[in-house]
Symmetry: C2
Subunit: 307 residues, 2 copies
């Protein structure tokens, strides 16, 4: 296997593109591909102030590294969810983020949820019906709320998340097999800002997980290897397993599935479900002032207020 | 496992419904379910003349038997495709259909494609680019054309095919993973008649394959067990394998996937793709007079004319 560009020994084989690269040209390819995706979906520019959500995993740290190298103005945000019951997952993740930012002299904001709201996310969730056995849906709520709030309060132009192609394909697969039309109408790599909501972008949506992992390893980025302990056995994991089987038998399957969906959206599939947040009747939370569909106190404030 | 109705020993366990039945009540359930589906999708009535496409397999013979028992006025149509190269597949299938019809004194029309058009379907296909290695797409064309022609020429009110839930789910899965919007816009259990096209209905679309097989066996229907030799290793088979894995891990998956899709269609998920045949600009084949999208001779006539 030889590098397509220089003929040296390749370090990675991109089956779906039918090309291989050496270390130098692979790193260059990742940078170019990211730049291309940012431009293609008109995500953001180098003049804007960006906030990347970092988890301490390979995807978000690799993405922050890529954007920093490309010259984007990007700060990090780490939400310490307090998931340390089985192993020090949040502790370790936080440290990787801090080391990463310090080595590059990048700004990292940390929100320690227990310090700020009196309870960890698993503790908050355990008091609710849905979160009693698994905190995942409550955790999603907390993350969405705080990312949006921090982006708006900090005057950022956009929030970036490092969802990769495997993530997006698995989410799409769940939405399609359950025909969740609301999600199918707007699983786009860019969600424009609307009243009360910051712009959201996913510049890594076209990279396979193995590509982001390879990038992180080649760049010497230290990241947390373990998955969140609560993710084990999740529906998302099951869907990833199905898609891995399909990808093994039909290389490029995930790319084609995801890009086919984006084309279908453009051709007018799921039209009644492409409504923007501004079309929804949103109220303001009487406690925090953030947008909410409920009357009175928003779901986030209701979750934390009993803490 | 006991019958839900009478408490006798059950012969089948319907996992997705969480019920079991004895032989007598299972056969009754199949009849009731079929009647329900016919009514729900407003497929046809007992006053109409129906034509069922029979292949000699479990699904089509079981369906013909059910409709006959329910008192529908239904004739059979067997297309002898001439697939006898590896084993006498078409020969055997034809005999099962003939035995079935004779035992019930039902009308069965047989079209022997080689006798009528000079070549078997694999022979015709072997002369084409797409059909060179596998005749499946040409075979589909021949079947669609002849079913429609026979229904119209014979003055039938509708053509019925015995696609089961496994078939429909696998077809839907292919359409969704490839985002084939034209098919996604109209994979409905009933296609109304339009100029030049007979009404088409799929009364067995809600039964799992194992349910139709159980019915056929319990009713003592003799049918061809082997699959068409050309179907082995097909994309349809691969998709059925994926869906079987999902159904095993999540009983009821196929039902939910298919019914969710039908609901999504009703909610307008694929609006630009629900165009009816009448909206298409159709011409008439200058040779056979059947509707066609091409100018001059239709694809079927082009396929057979060189024979």
């Amino acid at each position: 296997m030889k590098c397509k560009k220089c003929g040296q020994k390749a370090v990675i084989d991109l089956r779906q593109h039918n090309i291989a690269y050496c270390q130098e040209h692979y790193l260059e390819w990742v940078l170019n591909q990211t730049e291309r995706v940012i431009e293609k979906y008109d995500m953001f520019t180098k003049d804007e102030r960006l906030l990347v959500a970092v988890s301490g995993g390979k995807d978000s740290l690799a993405m922050w590294d890529v954007l920093w190298q490309l010259g984007y103005n990007v700060d990090g945000l780490y939400l310490d969810l307090g998931i340390n019951d089985q192993d020090p997952y949040s502790e370790n993740s936080r440290q990787f983020c801090q080391q990463f930012a310090a080595a590059r002299q990048l700004q990292l904001k940390i929100i320690d949820i227990r310090a700020k709201y009196g309870e960890t996310v698993p503790e908050m969730a355990s008091r609710t019906k849905r979160g009693h056995t698994k905190p995942c849906s409550q955790c999603g709520l907390v993350k969405r709320y705080l990312l949006n709030k921090e982006a708006l309060d900090g005057g950022y132009d956009a929030i970036l998340t490092a969802h990769n192609l495997d993530d997006e394909a698995a989410f799409l697969f769940a939405n399609v097999t359950h025909w969740s039309l609301d999600y199918l109408g707007r699983q786009y790599p860019l969600l424009p800002a609307t009243t009360g909501f910051a712009r959201k972008a996913k510049p890594f949506c076209r990279f396979y997980e193995r590509e982001t992992a390879t990038y992180a390893i080649l760049r010497g980025i230290q990241y947390v290897y373990t998955e969140c302990p609560y993710a084990v056995g999740s529906k998302q994991m099951r869907n990833k397993r199905y898609l891995n089987l399909m990808e093994d038998e039909q290389p490029g399957f995930k790319t084609q599935f995801y890009l086919g969906y984006l084309r279908a959206l453009k051709k007018g599939a799921f039209p009644h479900h492409q409504e923007k947040a501004e079309d929804l009747e949103l109220k303001r939370c009487t406690n925090c002032g953030q947008p909410t569909r409920s009357n009175g106190v928003c779901t986030f404030c209701r979750l934390v207020e009993d803490a």
